[in-house]
Amino acid sequence: MKFGVAISSALEALIANPLRSFLTMLGIMIGVASVMAMMAISEGAARQVDEQISALGASNLTLRPGASRRGGRSSGANSAPPFTDKTVQALRQEPYITAVSARNNGGVTVISGNDNWSTQLFGTNTDYFVTQAWKLTSGEFFSERNLSQGAAVAVIGATIADTLFDGTNPLGQNIRANNVPLRIIGVLEKKGQSGFGGDRDDVVIVPITTARNRILGAHRTTPKHVNSIEVGVADGYDMADAQTRLENRLREIRKIKPTGTDNFRVFNVADFVRARSSTQATMGLLLAFTAAVSLIVGGVGVMNIMLVSVTERTKEIGLRMAIGARKSDILGQFLAEAIALCFIGGLIGSGLGVGAAELAARMGGFPVSISPFIAATALSASVLIGLFFGYFPARRAANLNPIEALRYE
């Protein structure tokens, strides 16, 4: 086959019949546009989920004490003995763990001047900033020294900074949390909504020692208690594997007999978000499939017109054969025509698809993500459609008998 002749003959034929070419392309245009828009929307949703997961810490495992059992009776969630600073220290020795953050949390009222605000107070250790990937807009995190001394310092979230300080610099200022004065040493960068809908920036973070001793209070039986622990799993370790090893280690630490049931829970928060968003992803996929069906319908339209075109141009095909076109030349010409229809339709459709996705983002507030990958996929899909649906008409043209074709009126 000679590519140059195939392509130029195809383009000549398309230009000779502009209205028909346009109408044939329309099906492909609509198909590609809807595939692109749907992919952009489901990709956008997927990316949003990914962001939520990475905000939660994709390689984090969360540990909570479970129910204590006495005889056959369970005493409800978190009734088992709490974790302690010792648990945290012990877990730090594990090779597959990079960071172990401890957290005690509780609701507090924060007062600054005449303003007061109900918020969450987290007593944590310094690893907490690592596992939660917090960044600062100003100031600093509290130090190990602050932690060991139980210093009255606080790092505040962006919401608190906005609400209580409204534009003025909160650094060095004092707030009172449940009437305990705290000096602000750092302001955190905004994180936005959590995967569960809460405001992650509405938080005051203090050393866990400060929280236990002065603000939230200590456990009735365990002075150095820790409500929940979050561990960061080192790169290169399988999450499920790490979870099993962590569970085994916890059974040792908490002296659970081989026959006993766990009195703690280890879970992967990212898994919850993934599970919750899987319906959303399925929906997006379903929409993209529906759109793909419209692309196939467009392809059938192309095949139909190509068959008409082959019949109409039978005499031309006979002539081309008489003057020396090989079968492959004729096949190539009609295949190129079908592919050109689909490719040009696909190009225009991609433009429309980007427009539709933008519109969905503006009007419907969908998270939209248009990547070159999506455009490339949509375009190559349209070329494949042209190849697939163009082959049958092109083969019919190539297999015409030259004499009969020449005589055709």
């Binding site: 034929a13 054969m321 008489a322 003057i323 020396g324 090989r326 079968k327 020449l406």
Partner: protein
């Protein structure tokens, strides 16, 4: 097997060629055991009533069809030994077709029409545009190159078709009723053009049923019922 007379300068040779079509239940013998040779540079008119086999012979010589039995040689090559691509290349490089209805691409200009066979050429050793222009000038249409067939008269369209047939520098021109759609005066011009090609060494074979047209040829072959009825040679 019967041996056909071999003439050393024959560019086309048919050795007891038969062609049988099956039309429904009936067998139609379009050609029966025809042996004929054409010398290089000779102009031959093939005549006969419709159904006499003259068009069938043209299609066989033009490598558009294959005989039921017998052998065809063009420039010494047995067509039966060539595959479909080689036959296409033979049509492209060795043979030029001229049709009664011109068969030009309506949406293309005269120049594009003439370029068409060159674009299918696998040899590509010259500038396609220059060659097409040269051929159009040769048939006297140097000033009509940008015109579409619709904008040209019948005679001019047939000239474009002849230019297209010449573009690939063929050794053979096959003209099927080249003047059938033209008036007498234009027919004369077209025939002069074909005679001129014959004088340049191109073998011209034309199918016609008009005696005045056939008179331009040095040789007339009359067909009837699939066999050669008689042959007339006229000295120019």
């Amino acid at each position: 097997m019967k041996q056909a007379p071999i003439s050393s300068d024959a560019i086309i040779r048919c050795d007891s060629v038969s062609k049988t079509y099956i039309m429904g239940e009936q067998k139609v013998h379009a050609l029966r055991d025809v042996s004929v040779a054409f010398a290089a540079g000779e102009m031959t008119a093939i005549m006969g009533p419709s159904g006499s086999g003259k068009s069938t012979l043209m299609n066989l010589i033009g490598a558009l069809d294959v005989p039921t039995s017998g052998d065809l040689y063009i420039q010494g090559r047995n067509l039966a030994k060539l595959d479909v691509d080689e036959l296409a290349d033979l049509r492209n490089e060795t043979i030029g077709f001229v049709f009664q209805q011109f068969n030009l691409l309506g949406r293309a200009t005269a120049l594009t029409n003439v370029k068409l066979p060159l674009r299918y050429s696998r040899k590509l050793d010259e500038d396609i545009d220059a060659r097409a222009v040269e051929c159009l000038q040769l048939v006297g249409l140097g000033d009509r190159m940008g015109h579409r067939p619709m904008q040209l008269s019948g005679g001019q369209q047939q000239r474009v078709a002849i230019a297209r047939a010449l573009a690939g520098r063929p050794s053979i021109i096959l003209a099927d009723e080249p003047t059938g759609a033209l008036d007498t005066q234009t027919s004369g011009e077209i025939m002069d053009l074909l005679v001129n090609l014959g004088q340049q060494g191109i073998t011209v074979i034309l199918v016609t049923h008009e005696a005045e047209v056939a008179a331009y040829a040095q040789r007339q072959i009359h067909f009837r019922d699939g066999v050669i009825e008689r042959e007339i040679r006229t000295e120019p």
